[in-house]
Subunit: 207 residues, 2 copies
Amino acid sequence: MTSAKDATPTKRRGRRPAGEDTRAALLEAARAVFAEGGYDGATVRAIAARAGVDAAMVNHWFGGKEGLFAQAVLQVPFDFRDVLDEVTADGPQHLGRNIVRAFVTRWDGAGGEVFTALVRSVTAREEALHLLKETLVSRIFAGITSAAGSDQAELRAGLCASQVIGLGMARYVARMEPLASADIDTLVETIAPTLQRYLTGDIGFPG
Amino acid sequence: MTSAKDATPTKRRGRRPAGEDTRAALLEAARAVFAEGGYDGATVRAIAARAGVDAAMVNHWFGGKEGLFAQAVLQVPFDFRDVLDEVTADGPQHLGRNIVRAFVTRWDGAGGEVFTALVRSVTAREEALHLLKETLVSRIFAGITSAAGSDQAELRAGLCASQVIGLGMARYVARMEPLASADIDTLVETIAPTLQRYLTGDIGFPG
């Protein structure tokens, strides 16, 4: 803020303890801009402007748009080890319940913006698609099936991903009622048994 | 075809019995163009050019881009009454199995193009989102829950939609293996029990 007339909060760069504050502002701005237009529709310039910082800060903190996308859209809601620890903490019979809680809590916390940004980018860019597959399926669900010692681990992981992605599509992207407004307990009660069966139940074919 | 040099098959309009042939060519071209760029990225001109017909034919046969989208992307794979009849033909205990077969057969038949076109358009346009919600949820799944006489019909319909949409995302848009290459029997065996429970099983809360 350089004058009393200029009261836009996002321009109060002088008040920030620099570093982390700039980084946090960029992450928040990035989620909003990626959710609006997807990866292709977002520009480093637009994100920096929304955060009220210089565009060079994007390169400084994230190495560019791709790194910012990874941090803002993929990594913030899915700190893989945290999710894995949280989901597996109560043993194999509570995986389904814990998965629904872990995902919905994180997605609701980001207001659905992160998931929407992800989907809009997935449909626009092969790269976002790759990131989704790598992170959501390979890291999280494969980590879970591995922790559970499941047979047919890849099929089970894929089935879980399909239900979780579908929940995200219905709740955040399409905002279908009553799923969009359902409380977390309803989602756990209704969807956890699906994931539990996919992970540890009888899914038919032996391989 | 007006000269021997002009051998492009799509220009052989003279050989067509006019009408229905033009219409079919436009539908096929529209699916490809909508799958590539989504609703916003597609133009009537590009679709007509791909079909080898005059752009005015789009208005003549479909009343414009929206009508063409509805016919090419929404209505061809989902003739609501057909799907409903097929799914409900074997009684309430086979709904899950029949839903998986009905959707996957139609989506595989259109090569995943239709579903991909739908998702890319959903993320770009509120209108496509509305169409998806109206058709997939309201008409198909609400029709099924209504036919099954289910309690909590809207919640059950939404849960089914979430799993079916998630399957489409995994199999056609993200092409996650092994779901992308799985045969239909594997998909029925693994996913039908989920839909069956959502429709006729215990989903916890009584309302």
